[in-house]
Symmetry: C2
Subunit: 226 residues, 2 copies
């Protein structure tokens, strides 16, 4: 009888432990066969506070100072299309290619600078009209030491895409400006798709090489006589 | 001996017929397990003649008058990003939703009119700035009897997408203007993907309802006193 009782107790404890472990095991299994990232963001985005998200990314840079204290500003603190876009960018660990017609959003600019500080290799292609425009983030990125190249054409460099770690493509109609994020009807696709990433990366490298500053013409009206 | 010879002849004929049929069988098999459409078009597009493509689509409308005689203009007659975009649109048999910030390309306008004539249900959403702009295709589409709705916001209706037969999504950075097609760096994705199509269709229906003319405000400064 004593032995049977112990067996029952042992079985009960075993069952309890197994039930406890089940959700963990399921989560582990789900993570292993995670679907590739496949998301659409629509804008205008609700205006939310992205301070916690950016501070957490910055704290990571400072050697893991831990998550910041909750922000108490009057904005909503939930998810929004902008916060999701920031999250997709801040996931970068190795490289970030940006090919953007217009870039003036301070939050997105800060995210890109954080990645650069964290050692991510950031390269930016933009349209010449946005190189020195008031409110443009491009000058700040250049000052921070990030490489930027631009066209010299009459046609626009009108792409709006980013490639994260040569693995995730972010592309759509959205220019990275506060006006577009908060007021326009826009879409952004976030796609973990090897075929699309390869094609957009080829396009990036092609333009990057074509916009090499050694090929710029500074005084087209001057004849190259010497 | 005579019998053996006939057997050899029959086997040879059988083999020849089988070899003849093989490519057909392979093509049939390939068509059956065809990969969903999955393509990227980059612009600027080479300027090519799209007359044959549009005439063939028009001839189809006139009751199958057959393919047109080859065009002899001085433009190249091969494929280009524009011709591929036209092909993707002209594949529509039932419905076409267009949600476009700017639409002035005559070739794309002609393709949309052809689809309308062919009985495809075409609906267009555009930005109010482009309703009556010189060179815009929107007025021509309206005159042809195609339903068009537009925003009344200060923010832009900046999407640039199309949905063909509720099956294929066409989206990217490209405004449907000749300037963009011929001079800008642009991208367009053509995706046969049920998830993306569903999300963009929801966005379309949502905007379509929001821009219902019964909700327009024509004299916002007037008070509704009666």
């Amino acid at each position: 009888m004593g032995r049977l009782r112990w067996q029952v107790v042992a079985a009960a404890v075993g069952l309890a432990l197994a039930l406890e472990a089940l959700p963990l095991a399921l989560r582990w299994l789900r993570a292993r066969r995670r679907r590739p990232q496949h998301e659409v963001l629509f804008f205008p985005s609700q205006v939310t506070c992205t301070e916690a998200l950016l501070q957490a990314a910055g704290a990571g840079n400072a050697g893991g100072a831990g998550p910041p204290a909750g922000c108490r500003c009057s904005l909503p603190h939930g998810e929004s299309s902008l916060s999701r876009l920031l999250r997709a960018l801040l996931a970068a660990r190795v490289s970030l290619e940006l090919c953007l017609f217009a870039f003036s959003s301070p939050q997105l600019g800060r995210a890109v600078q954080l990645l650069h500080q964290r050692g991510v290799r950031v390269r930016v292609i933009t349209d010449c009209d946005y190189m020195a425009l008031k409110g443009s983030q491009i000058g700040l990125l250049r000052k921070a030491g990030i490489q930027v190249r631009h066209d010299q054409d009459l046609g626009y460099m009108h792409h709006k895409f980013a490639i994260v770690d040569k693995k995730v493509l972010i592309t759509g109609s959205l220019n990275w400006t506060t006006q577009a994020i908060q007021n326009n009807r826009e879409n952004v696709l976030i796609m973990e798709d090897a075929d699309y990433v390869r094609l957009f990366l080829e396009e990036f490298e092609h333009i990057w090489e074509e916009f090499n500053p050694t090929k710029y013409t500074f005084f087209p009206q001057k004849k190259r006589s010497h």
